[in-house]
Symmetry: C2
Subunit: 345 residues, 2 copies
C-alpha cells in the first residue's frame, strides 16, 4: 500500500538555481518538500549531519543514481535509489537503518516531477524500514545535469549471525539466484528505444533486506556470500565473485529463471540476459548441505518465489565462469566487455 | 606535505560510457586508480559496502559537490569534497572516521584530470585522518553532466563531551567566527568571471576536525553550537541558527575578520562578504564566561589564528540577525534572497 501525498502549495513550479543557493529559496523548497515528507526526529535536528547511537557491527554503502528516463514502468529514480542502497547493505548481511539523500537537480526541473520522486522515496523507505536522516540539495545549470541525480548512502546493522565474505566460499557450494533475470534492464532499454512490447514487463526494483534477514535468521554462516547482480548483469557479478574467491563457477543455462516475455524482448533487442541489469535479485552462495532448505525458505517469500539453484562453485578453472548451454555445450562467460546500456541505474 | 602520485599507466586517456558499465572497463579503471590510491583493509573488501565496528554516539552526513570549475587556486573539487563532509561532521562535534566516495563522471573527461582529483582526495583524507571505505562510479553522456560531480558521505564519532544543539543556546552567549570571511566564494567567482586580481586570494578549504576537537577537549559543553557558513554565507547561517534557537543575534561589522584583498575583490564584484561562501570557517556559539579562553585557544591553532568574537545571542528580536554597521547604524541581515553564485561547492 503506497502513501499518497498531494503536492504542497509552492510559489514556483520549476527548480531554479536559487533553490541550490543555501539561501531563502532553498529553505522554502526544503521546508515544504523534503523536510516535511521525511519528517523524523533525526532529520528534524536540521544540523549538518544526524547524530545517533547504533550498536555495531555496522555496514556502510553508497550509490549514485543517474537512470534515464527518471520514470519507468514499475518505479522511478526515487525508489530505485532507496532500494539500491538498502540492497547493497543487505548484501553485506545488514539491515539498513539510516539513509542520507543528496540531490543534484537540473535547473528547469518541474517541481511536480521532483515531488513524484520524493513520494516514491518515502514509500520505498517505509517498505524497507529505513529513515532518511540527513541530506543535501544542489542545483546545476540547464544542460549540466539531467533532471535528477540522486546519491543515497546508508548505514545498516550487520546481522549477528552473518559471516559473509568470499573467503568462506568453497568448492561444492551452491549458487542460488533469487528470481527471474533481466527485468530492470529490459524495462529501461525498451522505454529508451521507444519500443512498445505488448507485455507487462516492469522493473524488478524492490527492497531485499527482509528476505536476506529471513535467510540469515534461518541459516547464519551457511549463507557464505551475497551479491546483487545490477550493472553488468549476472555474468559480471559472477566474474567478480569468481575472481575474488579464486574459485571457478559452473552455471547451467537450463536452470536460469527467465520470464518468457523478458526473454523475447532480449531476443528482439539483441541482448544476452546474462548481461542485463537487475535491481531486485540477489545471488546467494550457500553451503551445499543446506541448499534445498534455503531454496524452500526462499520460495515462501514474495521476493524469492522464483529462486533457483543455478550452479556450483568448483576448484577447477579458478577465476572463470563456465556456462553449460541449453544444448549441452560449454562456454566461458566473461565480464561485460564494453557498455551495454548506459544509465541503467 | 602532499603525497605525489604519478598517473598510473592506462590503456585510455578519456573516460567513456563503458567506464560506468559495471563490466570489464569499469573494473580496469577502478582497480588501477581508485582502489589502488585509497587502498585500505575496508575498501579492499570490495563488497557492496564496508563493514566495521565503531562505538557511538555517531554522526552521519552527506554532501554532493558540483563546483565549477573543478580546479581553482588552493584546491580542487576533490579536497573540497573531503573537507566539506569532514567539516559537516565536525560541526556535529564528531571526528570523521569513514567516508564514502561516489563519482558522476561526464563522458569525455580526461583521465589525468580525474587523477588530479583523486590525488587531492587522498591528500585531504590523510590530513583529516579519514579513510575512504566504499564508493561508486557512474558515467553520463557528454552534455548530461559537467566533468565531475562528487558525493561524499561520512560517519564520525561524536566527542564524548560534545553537547551541541541549538536548544542550549542562551542570551549572552558569544558568537565566535574562526577566521577571515569570503575567501572561497571570491576565489571561484573571480576565476569564473575571468578576473585577474593581483592578489594571492585562494580557497580557504581546509579540514576543521582537529581544531574542533581541541575546543571540545578544552571546553566540552561550553561549546553550545557549531556550524560552518558555506553556501549562503555567514548571513544565511546566522539566520538558520537564529531561527532554530528562536533567539536574536547581534553582530558588529567592525569585528568581522576580513582580508583586505578579499574585501577589495568583493567591492569590485559588487558582493557583500556576508553572503559569500566559505569552506574553512566555522561559527562557534560559546558560554559567555569562557569566550576569551576559547578565543585564546583558537589563536594557537593555524585554522583559528584570525578568530574573533563577532557578536552575541540576545533574547531581543528572536529569529532576527541585526548588524551594527561600521558607522554605528543598525540593519536586519536576512537570508541570501536569491542566488549569488551557483555551483560554488
Amino acid at each position: 500500500m503506497n502513501l499518497q501525498c498531494p503536492l504542497p502549495k509552492l510559489d514556483f513550479d520549476i527548480i531554479t538555481l536559487g533553490h541550490g543557493s543555501g539561501g531563502l529559496l532553498m529553505h522554502e523548497l526544503l521546508n515544504k518538500t523534503v523536510l516535511d515528507i521525511f519528517k523524523n526526529d533525526l532529520l528534524d535536528q536540521q544540523h549538518d549531519g544526524a547524530s545517533f547511537s547504533l550498536p555495531g557491527p555496522l555496514a556502510f554503502s553508497t550509490d549514485s543514481y543517474v537512470v534515464s528516463p527518471i520514470s519507468f514502468p514499475g518505479g522511478n529514480i526515487g525508489d530505485l535509489a532507496v532500494n539500491g542502497t538498502v540492497n547493497d547493505l543487505a548484501m553485506c548481511g545488514a539491515q539498513a537503518k539510516y539513509l542520507s539523500l543528496a540531490f543534484i537537480l537540473e535547473e528547469g526541473l518541474k517541481v511536480d516531477e521532483f515531488w513524484d520522486v520524493l513520494v516514491s522515496i518515502k514509500n520505498a523507505a517505509l517498505k524497507s524500514g529505513v529513515q532518511i536522516v540527513t541530506g543535501d540539495t544542489k542545483v546545476v545549470e540547464r544542460g549540466k545535469g539531467d533532471k535528477i541525480f540522486i546519491n543515497t548512502s546508508g548505514i545498516g546493522q550487520v546481522h549477528p549471525s552473518a559471516r559473509i565474505h568470499h573467503r568462506y566460499i568453497e568448492p561444492g557450494d551452491a549458487i542460488i539466484l533469487s528470481g527471474k533475470l533481466a527485468a530492470h534492464g529490459i524495462t529501461i532499454m525498451s522505454l529508451r528505444e521507444g519500443l512498445q512490447f505488448e507485455t507487462d514487463i516492469e522493473t524488478d526494483s524492490v527492497n531485499l533486506n527482509h528476505t536476506v534477514n529471513i535467510l540469515l535468521d534461518g541459516f547464519g554462516e551457511g549463507i557464505k556470500f551475497l551479491r546483487d547482480p545490477t550493472r553488468g548483469g549476472l555474468a559480471s557479478t559472477l566474474n567478480e565473485i569468481s575472481g575474488a574467491a579464486k574459485m571457478g563457477i559452473d552455471i547451467d543455462q537450463n536452470l536460469l529463471p527467465l520470464d518468457e516475455q523478458v526473454e523475447g524482448a532480449c531476443e528482439m533487442l539483441g541482448l544476452d540476459p546474462l548481461y542485463v541489469a537487475n535491481e531486485g535479485l540477489f545471488i546467494a552462495i550457500v553451503k551445499k548441505d543446506i541448499k534445498d532448505e534455503v531454496l524452500q525458505l526462499l520460495h515462501t517469500d514474495p521476493n524469492g518465489a522464483h529462486a533457483a539453484i543455478i550452479g556450483y562453485i568448483t576448484d577447477e578453472h579458478p577465476g572463470k565462469v563456465i556456462l553449460k548451454s541449453r544444448i549441452g555445450g560449454k562456454r566461458v562467460v566473461s565480464y561485460l566487455p564494453g557498455e551495454q546500456l548506459p544509465r541503467i541505474c
